[in-house]
């Protein structure tokens, strides 16, 4: 499965420098391959650098050394090939729901205006927001806003869909509904997805593969193949399976141990 690399991290590192030039390594040398069509979820202790890794795929952060390769080309910066969905503030309030989705196609030069309208309508339908096409963003709920953001990103037809805790600000029931919807969208589109979350249930439920990161600087603690254990068709019943619980427990303990470890290290540093 990992022989044909669609996305490849080659000894990727990231160091943040503050105003005084003090260096904080955020991503340890990271080498990893992601296959085309894989749904990969990044989890790890908070502030571990998982979002930074994803932002480097998106070209929104530049690696300090090493590179991210997407379809055999080094990522040079952000582009339409790496679509991104943020946790908040991602839909434009001055546009309607349809206008926002249409915006995803604005900078495509390969298709004409009528084709753009057709595609925008298609994704509007796909996320079930047709009745709200002419609503402005302030008139719809948080869950609908994220559906708009997802539809807009998919309309741009990216090679990879990057999602930075997209459901983090939603209530539990809405999140559940959006997770199911995301899975069906993804099955229809066969997109490669990288999804960052701190919700382990969400990670196990959505993923083909979970990458558990260590505390900062991020390195891969464990590469968990969920697809090998859970059925490809994910319904809410999957969460009741013993295999699901076992995976959930496994991932959660890894993160918990890591959190305990850094806490102890921080305590030791404070005492010293």
């Amino acid at each position: 499965m990992q022989t044909d690399a669609f996305i490849e991290f080659r000894t990727l590192t990231k160091v943040f420098f503050d105003e005084r030039g003090h260096a904080t390594p955020v991503v340890a040398p990271l080498s990893m391959k992601i296959a085309e069509g894989e749904f990969v979820v990044f989890v790890g202790p908070s502030g571990c650098g998982k979002t930074t890794v994803m932002r480097m795929v998106g070209g929104l952060e530049t690696p300090t050394s090493g590179e991210v390769r997407l379809k055999d080309c080094a990522v040079q910066g952000p582009s339409r090939e790496q679509g991104m969905v943020f946790q908040s503030y991602s839909s434009f309030p001055w546009l309607t729901v349809l206008g926002n989705i249409r915006f995803g196609l604005k900078y495509r030069t390969d298709i004409g205006a009528t084709e753009k309208d057709r595609i925008a309508r298609h994704y509007l339908d796909l996320v079930g927001l047709s009745p709200f096409a002419d609503f402005h963003i302030n008139r719809i709920s948080g869950g609908m806003r994220q559906r708009v953001a997802i539809a807009r990103t998919l309309a741009a037809d990216p090679l990879v869909l990057l999602m930075d805790e997209p459901f983090g600000a939603l209530d539990a029931l809405t999140r559940e509904r959006l997770q199911l919807q995301l899975l069906s969208l993804r099955n229809a589109e066969r997109k490669t997805v990288i999804f960052v979350t701190h919700d382990v249930d969400e990670a196990v439920f959505l993923a083909d593969r979970i990458i558990v990161f260590s505390a900062r600087p991020a390195r891969v603690l464990k590469d968990v193949s969920v697809g090998a254990v859970l059925p490809p068709e994910r319904t809410l019943e999957v969460t009741e399976l013993p295999a699901f619980r076992k995976l959930r427990h496994e991932v959660l303990s890894l993160i918990r141990n890591e959190e305990t470890r850094i806490e102890a290290a921080e305590l030791a540093a404070a005492v010293a």
Binding site: G77, P78, G83, M84, F86, F92, Y107
Partner: protein, 295 residues
Amino acid sequence: MTLSATGRENDAAGGAATGRATLPLASAAIRKEGGVRELFVFRGKPRANIQLWVGIGAFVLTIAVWQLVTGTGLIKPVFLPSPWSVVTAWLGLFGTAGYAADIGISVARVWIAFLTSAVIAIPLGMLMSSYRVVGASSEPLIDFIRYLPVPALVPLTLIWLGIGEGSKIALLWIGTFFQLVLLVADDARRVPKEFIETGLTLGANDRALLKDILFRAMLPNMVDSLRITLGWCWTYLIVAEIVASNSGIGYELWTARRYGKTPEVFSGILTIGVIGLVSDQAIRFAHRRYFRYLT
């Protein structure tokens, strides 16, 4: 508890003894919210029309007190003329051909200076916030000039541009531009970075980011910044017209003082106040109308 009590009263009044709770929409038992009492509650929310009447009341009261102190002869008319004499003086001024022209000249000066500063300040402010090379090079200079009191620049504008229209418009321009450009830069900086990054991941180039995202996202705040600076522009207009002019509302105001015509002085102040109020309210109205998506 309150709800069930209201429900019972409603059932009794309406004779609907079904036992089901009905919404008391047309019953006398409704407790209307936002009443007069709310005026005195900390962060209370009285209804809009109550607030309007309070405003009108305060306005009428001010006029009444004004009439009272002038009517009783407590203050001499040369210091404070009666409201009525101010109104007649004002109407009288409009009867003269010159006054309308004066207003026209003042309005033209303000708008020419305001529009030229806006046309430069908006793109420059956007660039200042977007590219550090523009921001780092222009911010210190603009900040310095911004703190120069505008009246202090009058002699310089007179030396450079003479006593014609140029010096007055330049003065207004200086007073507005340097404030506005920093406000616009701030408005641009406050646009969430997710908007920009969304644009980048959808394939927008710099030009598109500025035009399609930054400008659109900052527009409502920028219109507010423009409204505020337009008010300042009027302040500087009066300074310019009092110091070096022979036309305009400020000039008329100053001439009236020289001849001791206090009602005319008041009329001048009133004119400026009305123009300011009207333009401010017009922009506020347009803001509500065009940026309805914010509320």
